[in-house]
């Protein structure tokens, strides 16, 4: 008996609809966040992350309604990220049934926001999302820096030191995405994952690059992640969460069954 490693499907939500084409044959409306979340819950997802990619601020409240609807029917932890800038934003999402919020850009531009949010709502609610890119070359010691705006804008901040700082500022968890691997389906940046996971005393979720079940298992066994997050391999029906868990269990990883 011990703490299970978590498998977390991630859903991109735009103006209240799941995007990136979820292809479950037996789902009536693949764009309906409630239906998709229910499906993942049935398959055994340990948690669900919603990423609000709504560009227009007019649609901000839509995400709150999505969370409310999902939380009324799906009884596993829910994390929401995307565009969270104030304690009020966080409170609104928590009151709608979210368990955690992921803060990314707002933490980079105003690290004290993480302190304030953690003090007001509790560290367990605050996930700091880190988008990191490898900036070292050739024989240099590995070094990763934070990027914002979907990996386009460098910040000059070194990723491991940043993770430690965010822990000290009251983050309860780190959601670590490798911008080099994201969307490549070649696996996590395991060196980055391991470096961050061993540098902080809070859980680390590995993200970015999953293309196979082996990648998920490696994130835990080699990357030392506490949880693994993936989007496309689950959305496009390549694998079910159940298959992912069975594979991880076959590699000696403790999963919830």
């Amino acid at each position: 008996m011990s703490l299970a490693k978590r498998i977390i499907p991630c859903l991109d939500v735009d103006a209240g609809r799941v995007v990136k084409g979820v292809q479950f044959v037996d789902i009536r409306d693949a764009g309906d966040p409630v239906e998709v979340a229910k499906r993942y819950d049935d398959e055994g997802a340990d948690e669900i992350t919603f990423l609000d990619i709504t560009a227009s601020s007019d649609n901000r409240n839509t995400m709150v309604h999505v969370v409310e609807q999902v939380a009324a029917q799906v009884f596993i932890p829910l994390t929401v990220g995307g565009g969270i800038r104030t304690v009020k934003d966080i409170r609104t999402l928590l009151n709608a049934g979210a368990d955690k919020v992921a803060i990314n850009t707002a933490a980079v531009f105003n690290p004290e926001f993480v302190c304030e949010a953690s003090a007001r709502t509790g560290a367990q609610c605050i996930v700091v999302a880190i988008d990191a890119k490898r900036v070292s070359t050739g024989n240099e010691a590995p070094r990763w820096e934070l990027f914002t705006h979907g990996g386009r804008k460098p910040t000059g901040l070194e990723a491991i030191a940043w993770a430690k700082k965010m822990e000290a500022f009251g983050a309860g968890e780190i959601l670590l995405t490798s911008m080099d691997c994201d969307g490549m389906k070649t696996g996590f940046d395991l060196e980055l994952t391991r470096a961050v996971s061993e540098a902080v005393g809070i859980p680390v979720i590995a993200s970015g690059g999953v293309g196979t079940l082996e990648h998920l298992a490696e994130g835990v066994s080699l990357g030392c992640a506490d949880a693994v997050l993936a989007a496309s391999i689950f959305h496009f029906g390549e694998y079910t969460i159940g298959q992912a868990k069975a594979y991880m269990a076959s590699k000696g990883i403790v999963v919830r069954t």
């Binding site: 008996m1 011990s2 703490l3 299970a4 490693k5 978590r6 819950d41 340990d46 409310e68 939380a71 009324a72 029917q73 009884f75 596993i76 932890p77 928590l94 009151n95 709608a96 049934g97 368990d99 509790g122 560290a123 367990q124 430690k164 309860g172 968890e173 061993e198 540098a199 902080v200 005393g201 809070i202 859980p203 030392c224 506490d226 949880a227 919830r256 069954t257």
Partner: protein, 219 residues
């Protein structure tokens, strides 16, 4: 038709607890989230949730004038404590340089960091203890009905309960050390984990609670 009260003392989000109870309660049952002592006293069963720091929870109970209401409910009707709602039933907590709790049961609430190796690096335990962990059922109890031995429940906490009276222990979980994840006595059942976030096992436990007559033995 019965009334189920969720005690609202301004600590944390009660939406999920409320929705989960509505899901498992009968169509005629009413789930009420309230801070009014007389409303709580008039309900058939009581859920006592909580999150955050022990000191803040105790302070909020005092501010809302709910200490005696909670104790009274725990004395005489089916009562379910969740997370901090379990911890503050004990004598005292190590949190915030020592916080006196309701002392409904004898026992302490301890910080993982003082008892297991926590922090960064290999072979260390991360705090908070966050995620799904197995609960060993230490006694047969109506609230465990239909839930497999060793089922996984969702936890988020940095402090754990240590009971003075082993007879109180209804569930044990391992995280660097075995700790008490559920206690039960007479009409009271309390859990460290969150049944409202624990998928089918959690919903089954809430369903068992909604139908529970408040006797700790199995009929």
């Amino acid at each position: 038709m019965q009334k189920i009260a969720i005690i609202d003392y301004g600590i944390g989000n009660l939406y999920s607890v409320s929705k989960a109870l509505e899901q498992v309660a009968g169509p005629q049952d009413r789930v009420i989230t309230t801070s009014r002592p007389e409303a709580i006293a008039s309900c058939d069963r009581v859920v006592f949730p909580g999150q955050g720091a022990a000191k803040d929870c105790m302070q909020a109970l005092r501010t809302h004038g709910l200490e005696e209401t909670v104790m009274e409910a725990a004395r005489n009707k089916p009562f379910l404590g969740i997370c901090m709602g379990m911890q503050v039933l004990m004598t005292k907590s190590e949190e915030n340089q020592g916080t006196g709790c309701l002392a409904f049961y004898e026992g302490d609430v301890k910080y993982f960091g003082n008892h297991v190796s926590v922090g960064a690096g290999e072979d260390r335990y991360k705090v908070p203890h966050m995620g799904w962990n197995a609960v060993r059922q230490d006694q047969a109890h109506p609230l465990w009905a239909g839930i497999d031995q060793g089922s996984y429940f969702y936890f988020v906490h940095s402090y754990f309960v240590h009971c003075t009276d082993p007879a109180l222990v209804a569930g044990t979980t391992e995280y660097g050390l075995p700790f008490t994840s559920a206690i039960a006595k007479d009409n009271v059942f309390a859990l460290q984990c969150h049944p409202e976030k624990s998928a089918a096992s959690g919903l089954r436990l809430l369903q068992n609670f909604v139908h529970w007559d408040g006797e700790s033995r199995i009929h």
